[in-house]
């Protein structure tokens, strides 16, 4: 290895300053992997991708690419400029985000949508119906996430949920800061009755100082109240912390502990290492990033070894380098027992679309509230009592710990982008991979996200 490091492989990226496509190298230096690219106009950029164990090279799950069933664009300028999806895309949709408003009742320091800055008018129900129908044309129904902006600012949110359900979308999740869910339990009830299955709750920590820094307000109590109201109306909740070095990385263990205290309402915790697109304070240095292996090691360290790194594995749906997950069941005595299946991790090649279908099924099963059953199991003195008790406990007390690392203009790897399964419906009914849709250059200019015309 030279001082410059070892080139592990090559890919393509974009210049963070002008977004032109560039050849890029993945370079190993000691235990760190960097993305290195050189723009003829703006010069060399070197960005941290991975730090430490589990190693970058070991975090693999090869897939046979699956072209989208229907492509709404053709290949013209090449990735990432033809998104729609285009025929060069390599994965089907797992989840489609519908941004039903650009309005927001918070002004977060970090916001991929740069929400609330100067919001356009909300799309009407006919437009949203057209989006659902377009997803069906694309090969859906897929899992839906209603997002924004803050989607609960729409009083007709229950109607939007009902509309999706009536068109055959059985898993509808709400991506929310939870403020309205805390303030208005009757609204939670209406959403649940309309068919909402799961709440993806912005939840950055167990300390108010964290919220002051990231969200501009002390709102921990509202978050907890939102969870209580979801419990009341049997909605599954996934806690979603944005992890920012120096702000809440120290709080990972406490967040997991709190989440487990709210089982079976809280079904999991999904960490999102901070990305630098949309709105953020300043252009990032490597110290402003936390990579997937660092998150895994912090989980292990802050749980005092009770949760071990071996319990986590790369995804079978999106690119391996985009995420991690582990499955657990909380036993009555307090033991958090891992049950992650390590199939598919050892060099076997899986078909991408099969992974997407599995991921859709997993999310629908484990991120929704468990059905309430009144008949007790495992109490009849039969030979299978303990088996039945375990099956029932796994149903009600399974808990997932996961994380997804989004990509910004500095660390964007176009191979990962082509494998993306989280797609955003654009205003003109195209399906855009999440990281392409939210991509902004160093001046905040978006590649795809529409900004209000003046």
């Amino acid at each position: 290895m030279s001082e410059q490091g070892t080139i592990l492989s090559t890919t393509e990226s974009v210049c963070p300053f002008c977004l032109r496509r560039l050849p890029a190298q993945r370079v190993l230096q000691k235990d760190q992997v960097f993305l290195v690219k050189d723009c003829p106009e703006h010069g060399l950029t070197k960005t941290l991708l991975w730090q430490g164990l589990p190693s970058y090279q070991s975090w693999a799950r090869p897939k046979l690419p699956s072209q989208p069933k229907a492509c709404f664009t053709t290949v013209s300028r090449g990735c990432p400029f033809d998104c729609g999806l285009c025929p060069d895309h390599r994965q089907h949709s797992c989840t489609v985000l519908l941004e039903i408003t650009q309005r927001c009742n918070l002004g977060c320091t970090y916001c991929f949508a740069n929400a609330g800055a100067d919001p356009a008018a909300d799309p009407d129900l006919a437009t949203i119906k057209g989006w659902f129908e377009q997803i069906l044309l694309a090969g859906g129904p897929f899992n839906i996430q209603l997002s924004g902006g803050e989607p609960t600012l729409r009083d007709d949110l229950p109607e939007i949920i009902s509309l999706g359900k009536s068109l055959g979308f059985n898993f509808i999740q709400l991506n929310t800061n939870g403020l309205r869910l805390a303030e208005e339990p009757s609204f939670v009830k209406r959403c649940q009755e309309a068919g909402l299955t799961s709440v993806f709750l912005q939840f950055d920590g167990t300390e108010e100082a964290i919220y002051q820094t990231l969200r501009g307000k002390a709102i921990l109590q509202q978050k907890l109240l939102a969870i209580e109201h979801c419990r009341e109306y049997q909605l599954g909740v996934v806690l979603v912390p944005t992890l920012v070095p120096g702000v809440n990385v120290h709080n990972i263990g406490a967040m997991i502990k709190l989440a487990l205290g709210y089982l079976p309402t809280v079904r999991g915790i999904h960490f999102q290492p901070v990305s630098y697109f949309g709105r953020y304070p300043e252009a990032p240095a490597d110290r402003d990033r936390i990579t997937i292996p660092e998150v895994i090691r912090e989980i292990e360290r802050q749980s005092e070894g009770k949760i071990q790194r071996e319990s986590f594995k790369p995804p079978g749906c999106e690119n391996a380098l985009c995420s991690f997950h582990g499955n657990f069941v909380l036993l009555p005595g307090g033991e958090l027992r891992p049950w992650t299946k390590h199939e598919g991790c050892c060099g076997t090649v899986e078909k991408a679309e099969v992974g997407a279908a599995k991921a859709r099924g997993f999310v629908a099963k484990y991120w929704a509230a468990p059905e309430v059953r009144t008949v007790a199991v495992g109490s009849h003195g039969g030979a299978f009592d303990l088996w039945d008790a375990f099956i029932e406990r796994a149903r009600t007390h399974s808990f997932s710990i996961s994380g997804m690392a989004f990509q910004d203009a500095w660390n964007l790897d176009l191979e990962r982008l082509k494998d993306c399964c989280i797609h955003v419906m654009s205003q003109d009914r195209k399906l855009i991979p999440f990281c392409a849709y939210n991509l902004t250059d160093s001046q905040g200019q978006p590649l795809y996200r529409q900004v209000k015309q003046r």
Binding site: C317, N327, K358, A383, W387, F390, A394
Partner: protein, 70 residues
Amino acid sequence: MSQGKGQGAEKVIECMKCGIVMELGNVEVTYLNSKFPIQLPKCPQCGLVYIPEELATGKMLEVEKALEDK
């Protein structure tokens, strides 16, 4: 192992390796870090355990399906 001598509930199961009749014994089935105790026919000599098809396609499959990874 072989099945045969006997019919219905009184089925006798022999260990194919040792040629002797299996006896009911305590067995612990382990799957993904969890242990499930059960009584199954077991060879008193070599310890080989007989798993009936109805267990494999019944309760064992039920446990497997309760834990569906992605």
